[in-house]
Structures are given as C-alpha cells and as structure tokens.
Amino acid sequence: MKNFLGNSNIIPISVIVFFIVAFWYLAAIPMNSEKVSRQFKNLTFKEHVDKSWNLKKPKLPTPHQIVNEIIKTTFYKKINSKRSLVYHGWITLKATLAGFILGTILGILLALGIVHNRAMDFSVMPWVIASQTVPILAIAPMIIVVMNSVGVTGLLPKAIISMYLSFFPVVVGMVKGLRSPDQMQLDQMKTWSATQNQTLWRLRFPSSLPYLFASLKVGIAASLIGAIVGELPSGAISGLGARMLAGTYYGQTVMIWSALFAAAILAATLVFLISFLQNYTLKKMAIVR
C-alpha cells in the first residue's frame, strides 16, 4: 500500500491475473460448447474452441470479447449516444457522487450527535445498524416509487439509495474516530477550559481523519452499488445498472459483462482516488509517515 504503482506487488498480482484469465478461457469452452454444437457442424477441435471463444451471444463471454466491447463502447461511440459506456457510466457516477456526499454528511452529523449527546448515544446506533439489515433490493424500489409519486425522478432517488448504503461506514468509523483521543488529551483540553467546539475542531476531528478515510473508501464503493441497484427496478434506460438489465433482457451477455467491468473499474478508480487523498492528507498531517 505504501507505493501503489511500481513496486514488487506487480509480480504476484500479474501471476494471479494470468491464472484467472487462463481458467476463464478454459471454462468458456465447455460453457459455450452446446451453443457452438447447435450452430455449427463438423468442426475440428481447434475450430470448436475458436468458435466458443467468439460467439455472438455466449453463455460465458471471453475476456477479449469483453475488452473489445468496452473499448468499442467507450472510445468509438459518441459520448451522448445511448450505446456509449461513457454516457451510462457518467449517469451512474453522478448519482454515486451525489449519494456519497449526502451519505458522508449524514454519517458525520449522526456521529457528532452520538459522540456529544447521551440520548443519541443510546438510541441512534441500534437504528443505524437495523437500517443496514434490511436488504437494499427491497428498499430501493420503494424509494424509487415513493419519490416518483411525488414527482422526483432521475438522479435524486438513486442518490438517496447510495446515501442509504454509504452513511453507515461513515457513522461507525467517525464515532470511533471522534472518540479516539485518549483521556489524557481530553483532560488536557479541560485544563485549558476549552469549549466543546474547540475540543471538536482542534482535537477530535483531526484525530478522527484516519478513521474517516477508511470509512470513505468503503462508503464510495457502497455508493456505486447503491446507484446501480437504484437503476435496476426503475426501468431506467440509462446508467450502468440499466445497461446490465438491458443486457439480460436481450441475452447480450457481452454487454452485461462489459457494464460489470466498467462498474468495477469505476469503483477501483474512486477508491484509489480516496486512497491518494488519504495518503496525501495523513502524511501532510504527520499522522502516518
């Protein structure tokens, strides 16, 4: 983690990726065999393998088919076209970021309440935990439908679902983080007769940053999942979730997988950005060296 790019991690990671890809190609042969046999007769084994790796609607698409599809739909379509992954990715990204920001704010506010107010300390946490035991797939359609009935559509309902998933790690992390100063540090503030606000801004909040960043990394990945789930039940026509759904309607497995990979790449990029921000901030604050 110290040096994300260009260190000895590269070799073990590549070896594992190599084995996954090799296994994938091998698995594609039996998975797609039935379809190949139905469409083509009298193939040599080599031809059979070749066909099963390049079917139009395979059961299991091969990595190169997915990569080709991603490249085609990312770089060779107009970005406002319904067939462009950039277009769909951007729609999902907007909802993800909006939900992430809302979730982070809500999470921090709840944590502040829990740390500073005894009543909230005893009453809020069980509800926060209960909220996460409800399957998001059950909540998401309700949020979409309820908000739709009051005329709110588009980005906001999806952002709310993202918020619902992403506030949780932030609350848990921030409660721990805001409570991380030890008794001596709090006593020290007391000897200076510091107000609650001064203690918060000068001690509790800076001390909580390592916890906050760890939570944000979990939160932003959860946000993306929330946005995608939010696109599934609404019959939305745009967004990575809608793209996956459309793929299943039409048996376009390559499209499903490419949307899946696009979502994974997006999530990895977002987490990486937060990691970068984390390293930069905590180094600057000399909390880690």
């Binding site: 001596m184 540090q185 006593d187 020290q188 503030m189 007391k190 000897t191 200076w192 007769s193 510091a194 001064q198 000068r202 001690l203 800076p206 604050m285 000399a286 909390i287 060296r289």
Partner: protein, 257 residues
C-alpha cells in the same frame, strides 16, 4: 497559593469503593516547589488532579488562589504537564505551544510573542518548525512544559513529567526545571516516584502512602534555593533523602499491621 483541608476521595469501582485519599491536608505557599512522592496507588496523582479540578473530592475543602478548584481551572490559574508530552502530531512545536493560546483567544501578535518567550525559556530555540516526531522524548517533554507555561498561569502542576525519560535526560531536565522555576517564580506541584528527584527539586516534600492514600510526612527542605546536581553528594541531601525513605517505609509498615 493552594490549600487542601481534610480531603477524602473515594472512587466507586466494580470491586467496591477505593479509598484514594484520606484526610489529606496541605498548604502550598506562593513560590513553593512541592513534590508529592510515594508508591503507585498512594493518591499523589489523584491529589494533583483534585487541585486541577479534574477530580472532585468526596469531602473536604480545596482552594486554589482563593477559588474553588473548578473556578480556578476556568480562570486558567494553572498549567498542567502530563506524564506523556501529548503533543499533536499534526502541529509543529510552536503550533503545539500556541494551542492553549488559541483556545484562550489571544491575539496573533501576542501568541507569537508568548510562544517565542517560552521556547527560549525551555531552550528549544531553532526547533519551532519541527514536528513532534522529529524531537527526542526529552525535547518533546520540554515543548509540553513550554505549552503549559505559555499562558503564564502562576501555578504549574506536573504529573511525573520526566517519568518516561532515561536518567541522564531526566537529570538535565531537572536542572533546567530548577532554573526555570527560579526565573519565573512559579508555584510548582510535582508528582514523582523518584526520591533523588524529589529531594533535588523541592522546597517541600510530601511523602504519601497507599491504601488508603494519605500523607505520612511533610519535609521542609533545608537545602539552599540555588542548587546544582553536585548537591546530591552533600550530607544534607542524603539526610533528607533518608527521611523520605523512612516516611515511605513507615507507610508500608502500617500496611503490614
């Protein structure tokens, strides 16, 4: 000026009440350097915390500069130095020293001036821009003392400030602390479990013993106000150290009975 009268303090714990202080009475005059010495559990830190209003006594009266301790705390009548330096890693040395000044709302010109003054006082000049992790343990503790001095309270409460340091560094800091005390004329209450440290520093040594925490002896030091480390070899020093040791022993004998 600090006066403690018949203070009792009992902590309620899961294993029943713990008698941390019993019938503790003490007078600290302005400009005194008072050490509290005793084994762990004798209530020396608790007594310091009572004076600082970090604990409240169960019964008895405490006054600090003619105020109840909590008012004295709010009036910022004392600076408190903890066993750990407790510097904020994200602040430089001068940033750490400015912290209490920020909290107390000093103007930035005054913050600069006071920081400069106390940094000179603890001999940390040239290290203002360093971060705590770039300093040795002894220097960190000096920065922590500077921070407690920055707002110029006339009482300094110190809870084993050199307890975590090695003996060589501790000796040097003891010498520096005496100089600082002579120059600033503060009233200092100093908790320690080292007999030489207590005898070397103090004008008055309060010997305490545990279960229940109480004062077994109060020794007015006959050593001259101006001292250096060589005084430790004087017969006067050894005599006082002996009396402290006997006081500590007496506390343990009580326990055996």
């Amino acid at each position: 000026m600090i006066s403690v009268e018949n203070v009792d303090l009992t902590f309620e714990t899961n294993d029943g009440p713990v008698h941390a202080l019993r019938e503790v009475s003490l007078e600290v005059k302005e400009g005194d350097f008072v050490s509290f010495i005793g084994p762990s559990g004798c209530g020396k830190t608790t007594l310091l915390r009572v004076i600082a209003a970090l604990e409240s006594p169960t019964t008895g009266n405490v006054s600090v500069n003619n105020m109840v301790p909590d008012d004295a705390r709010k009036a910022r009548e004392y600076g408190y130095v903890f066993q750990a330096a407790g510097l904020y890693p994200w602040r430089t040395v001068s940033g750490n020293i400015k912290l209490p000044l920020e909290i107390m709302g000093y103007s930035s010109a005054e913050k600069e001036e006071r920081t400069k003054k106390v940094i000179e006082l603890v001999e940390l000049k040239g290290f203002e821009k360093k971060f705590p992790w770039q300093l040795s343990g002894g220097m960190q503790q000096r920065a922590s003392i500077a921070r407690a001095l920055a707002f110029d309270a006339n009482i300094l409460l110190m809870d084993e400030p050199f307890g975590a340091l090695d003996e060589i560094v501790r000796d040097r800091l003891n010498g520096e602390l005496l100089n600082l005390w002579a120059r600033t004329k503060k009233t200092i209450c100093f908790v320690t479990h080292s007999i030489p440290e207590a005898v070397f520093l103090s004008t008055k040594i309060v010997v305490m013993s545990p279960r229940p925490g109480r004062i077994t002896d109060v020794i007015e030091s006959s050593l001259p106000a101006k001292r250096d480390l060589n005084i430790r070899d004087s017969s006067e020093f050894i005599k006082i150290a002996q009396r402290v040791r006997e006081g500590l022993k007496a506390g343990h004998l009580d326990e055996d009975l």
